[in-house]
Amino acid sequence: MSSGAASPDHVVGPHPLLPLLRCPACGGELRRDEDVLRCDCGAGHPIVRGVPRFVPDDAYVGSFSFEWNTHDRTQLDSARGDTMSRDTLHEKTGLDAAQLRGRLVLDAGAGTGRFSEVMADMGARVVGVDLSLAVEAAHRNLRHRGDVLIAQADIGRLPFGPETFDVIVSIGVLHHTPDTRRHFEALVPLLKRGGTIAIWVYPDEGDYRIRNQWIPWTNKIPPRLFYEWCRWFVPFLHRRRGSRLQGLAARLFPYSQQGYGLENDILDVFDGYSPRYHGIHSPAEVIGWFEAAGLVDVREAGPVRTSVRGRRP
């Protein structure tokens, strides 16, 4: 065990962002009692392997628990030595260093913490939450940082008080919940007045529609088995680029050729076909949710379809 005040293993020590956490049951403040965060209402939330936990298990996101602990660094800029995630953040939210520096940010559905890392590098303080055991990967990746706190929690029942964050981002997450709109609405009250929320969800078009047809079949396959198949399928087709077979496969079973390397394409095929929930939405629909939630300056955030941002007045 190391010391070092910033390590979330030593939230006692204490992690600077720990006081932000509230009891999701009653909204009360939490006291640290050994490895439990206790509330006056009687609720206790354990800290397990350095991560505060506000859910008993990973509910409907077991595929992500597997995925992000298998590919814990594949998309992490600091491990890749490029700006893949930084560029993706910008394309899907329009956010840049000028808008993030000095801000308190919630990364809702943080996965391995790749966007949390990028935003903290731009000078933000970031809380990353995820329902899956991806939090363990994110904690491994970011435990050395005092400007990022990782917690396991459900977006539908988050451990924060109202009007806490300057910025909320949720990239590629909300469509993996049982109700995309309701989970979006759960984020809005956590935003400070004047704060910005930016999300990206799957568009209701093209390859996403085709994938949506496959989902009831592919998400029944045990993750480990399906992942092993992806490790065969993606290189098999990459080697046959330009062939009839590859052309046909790409139309009937759309798969990734993102140009960020084979491991990333394997990860992305698993990611696209394994989740329990896979919602698809039109930009107009998502913009409608923002407006109905009372947000202003609502607009598409960048060149990527169904990336939308808005501000709380």
């Binding site: 085709i210 592919t218 088995l225 198949w229 490790r231 330009g242 052309g247 046909l248 079973f253």
Partner: protein
């Protein structure tokens, strides 16, 4: 994570492929997957390879000219093209080019898209007047 052994890998490849083929059959029957790509591939396998002389060449934009190939030959707009454009019997150098690159950069770039082929001659001369013969053939 420990890498899987070859036995598990083989089992995953066979069992998941079988499951997905079953799913594909069902989804195609119910009209939930587009059948057109499959029909195109089936037809492409049965049919003789397409060969033709390009006639009626029309200027498009910049260095790009367009000519009709005809329907039923799979292009990059659907399952992918295997068409080669030849200039006096010699293949032009860059297939599957972006249309903007054909227009701006020329240099023997081409694209088979839908029923047409978009191309620039190797030296960016006008194919209608340079005296060369342009043919296409599926490889």
């Amino acid at each position: 994570m420990r890498p899987a052994g070859p036995l598990f890998h083989g089992f995953a490849v066979v069992s998941v492929s079988a499951w997905l083929l079953l799913a594909a059959g069902w989804l195609l029957l119910r009209g939930r997957l587009p059948a057109r790509p499959l029909l195109l591939v089936g037809r492409a396998m049965l049919r003789r390879r397409h060969r033709a002389v390009l006639a009626d060449l029309q200027p498009e934009l910049g260095r790009c000219f367009v000519a009709r190939v005809g329907a039923g030959v799979p292009s990059d707009a659907d399952i992918g093209s295997r068409l080669v454009v030849l200039e006096d019997g010699v293949p032009l150098p860059h297939a599957h080019a972006a249309h903007d690159d054909i227009r701006r950069l020329g240099g023997g770039r081409y694209s088979h898209w839908g029923d047409n082929v978009y191309f620039a001659t190797r030296d960016d001369s006008d194919p209608r007047t340079n005296g060369r013969r342009y043919t296409v053939e599926e490889r």
